[in-house]
Symmetry: C2
Subunit: 161 residues, 2 copies
Amino acid sequence: MVLKSQVEWALHCCAILAGLPVGKYLPTKDLAELHGLPKEYLSKALQSLSQAGIVTSTLGPSGGYRLAKAPTDTSFLDVVEAIEGKQSTFVCTEIRKNNPCRKAGTRDGKSCAVARVMWKADQAWRASLRETTLADLVETLEDEVPAAVWKETFAWVTARI
Amino acid sequence: MVLKSQVEWALHCCAILAGLPVGKYLPTKDLAELHGLPKEYLSKALQSLSQAGIVTSTLGPSGGYRLAKAPTDTSFLDVVEAIEGKQSTFVCTEIRKNNPCRKAGTRDGKSCAVARVMWKADQAWRASLRETTLADLVETLEDEVPAAVWKETFAWVTARI
DNA sequence: GAGAGACTACTCGGATACAGTCTGTCCGAGTAAATCCGG
DNA sequence: CCGGATTTACTCGGACAGACTGTATCCGAGTAGTCTCTC
């Protein structure tokens, strides 16, 4: 069970979009070039973000994507769920119902005990992802990315919008 | 990102094996019949458990599987990792290195900030899975499964070993 | 020079192929029990 | 009747196909900016 690469791409793209001047848009082409990714496929990840209401898109020249909300209002979980979907990582197929020793019509009080443990872990994972926002990510990056690279990157971006 | 169904199967099988008389083995055939699963494919899950040292197998008549350790010594995480592997749910491909604004030879002090957040969530998930053991599972099942079904099931199992 | 209209070029979005993993199946190697035979 | 060798039947384990999701790509619909022409 491994997250699709689009999750990584989407998060890095969001970090860039978070640093964009307000009202400006950055097209997929530039985001792809900046991260060394296939432009056409990256656009699918951005489409998912758009449908989830995380980013907003505009067409035509100087079009592209920008964040739809303040960076403080979008968590890692929002991005992950936009790409992977909101369903739990564990799906219970209720195999206990196949037990030949069950008489027809047996009622189960609670949901499957196995599933409950798995779902609780899933919740813990999501809770952890919910703790960090895009604003936190940008703050961390400002501290850690070498100043030269950071500055140069946004000069590169600014030159294209 | 969804766990494979083998995880669910393996956990339910472990619950049955935990209730087995000491020294006795239960074959794949019976485990499959008890859960309504394809025997041949279920055996692959059990093979993974065997390789991980969670269960022990024996060949020949009255052969099969039994737990290799006490139920208190095997956690949900052990089972999940036996099936899904131990690698993190998030793999960082270091796309930050593709940034055209990076001068050759730029050193990164820390690992990618995006990856760190994702890995932390992965750890939270694993920690939650580590909290519950097979013994806890059996205890819960004893409380919740209708007594008739529970008793009948182990009578069914006992009749075959 | 200014404004309106048409044009152009650039963007996203969905529809379309390819690949890898998950799911499912098969058969052979090996072993423990049961059988058979001799003492 | 008892012990041992042989047979047998049952088990796991790895090798072999099919289905589905993830990956990658293409082309069309739509729009914002630009250019041109007229007043």
